[in-house]
Symmetry: C2
Subunit: 230 residues, 2 copies
């Protein structure tokens, strides 16, 4: 196993199946995905896929759980420095500051995936299945609610510590997520890439101008003792 | 022809084909759509479909043009009262204020479509094709750019008239669209309906609290003589 990767508690074989599924999905898209072309990307026998998963649907739901675990691991409600945690999280989704140099923070992507935007595309394509499939809808619902609750918790911790002004943390979390979703959307669909850069400005307007009080003390950080339960 | 419908300049036959396509798409979804099931919803002979369109792809691109024309017709950069125009437009996309009574403004939907959300779902499904299809990407790019430019023009006209405070109209338009897209998305996917209501609050926070200056004169309106070219 590569030490750089986020540990989501999968066995080595499960991890290898997830990797193969990701590559196959990125290559073929959801509509043309089959166990056969997942098998092509899998270094071991295709029969192992059937040993672990009943069929393609079951494998894809397990893959969605994996993708969600990866995404959820990018933000921690109990982080030592909530403001810094929010700033790191938004950089996982926003386009690089300077496209030519790639920016400072790598977008979320498993190692071995040379183009992180492919990973975002895979998530986006899986998400469109929510229209037709209750199981997908439920899993995305849980992920989005977790993300918004976690952002609200981080905001509330900085409010309690006096570093953010008083505000409705849930509404602010919804706004941040709306900007991040729009950024993800236009990057993946390619409809209006300049909107992703506008979203970067909007996110930092909230973080830099709306959220801090006039008399911020940038040196202080909220303590991890604050309630960070989600 | 029904007088209530938005006139997009189609002939009666083209209009009937568009209606049939909409119903077939809503019933079967994009993946399972065929000329055959469009024909089933079409009151005249299926051969007429082939007379007007070479194949399914050509028909669907014509349908996308139709849908875009309908959407574009919901906002006019030269409206007499730009602020009122913006407020009417956002109500086409946001969820009803009181779900139980349906709110004041009907969401955009052609007559004969009992559930306006089906129309939003059809747009959403077509938009996912942008990932794989350049022609779709280009058309959605034009539509989104037109929408954002039009909103920015309406904002600028109210700024020039002294009814909105000085701001970057393009950035504000991008923010409004991000909130509206998120509302559309969660309603169609069903992932987090409560986010659509949060987006309603965010949109009206911008319209009611951020955009007006302290000393607004609600009686005055911007004049149509202002530059409203898009």
């Amino acid at each position: 196993m590569n030490d750089d990767r986020i540990d989501t508690g999968r066995s080595e074989t499960e991890q290898a199946i997830m990797d193969a599924t990701l590559v196959a999905l990125a290559k073929h898209g959801y509509a043309d995905l089959s166990i056969k072309n997942i098998g092509t990307e899998f270094e071991k026998s295709t029969s192992l896929l059937y040993y672990h998963y009943e069929n393609k649907d079951e494998l894809l739901l397990a893959f969605l759980d994996y993708v969600i675990d990866l995404f959820v691991a990018t933000i921690d409600p109990c982080a030592d420095d909530p403001d810094a945690e929010l700033r790191t999280f938004v950089e996982h989704v926003l386009p690089p500051k300077h496209p030519e140099d790639g920016g400072d923070v790598e977008p979320v992507a498993p190692p071995g995936m040379n183009e992180p935007e492919l990973f975002q595309r895979v998530i986006f394509e899986l998400r469109t299945q929510t229209i037709h499939d209750d199981a997908y809808r439920q899993k995305f619902r849980e992920m989005e609610s977790y993300m918004i609750d976690t952002i609200a918790t981080l905001i509330r911790r900085e409010m309690d510590a006096g570093h953010y002004r008083e505000m409705n943390a849930e509404v602010m979390a919804e706004n941040l997520m709306a900007f991040l979703f729009r950024s993800l959307d236009v990057r993946v669909t390619g409809t209006r890439p300049e909107s992703a850069h506008a979203m970067r400005e909007s996110v930092y307007f909230l973080l830099d101008n709306v959220m801090p009080p006039g008399d911020a003390h940038p040196g202080d950080i909220a303590t991890a003792d604050d309630d960070c339960g989600v």
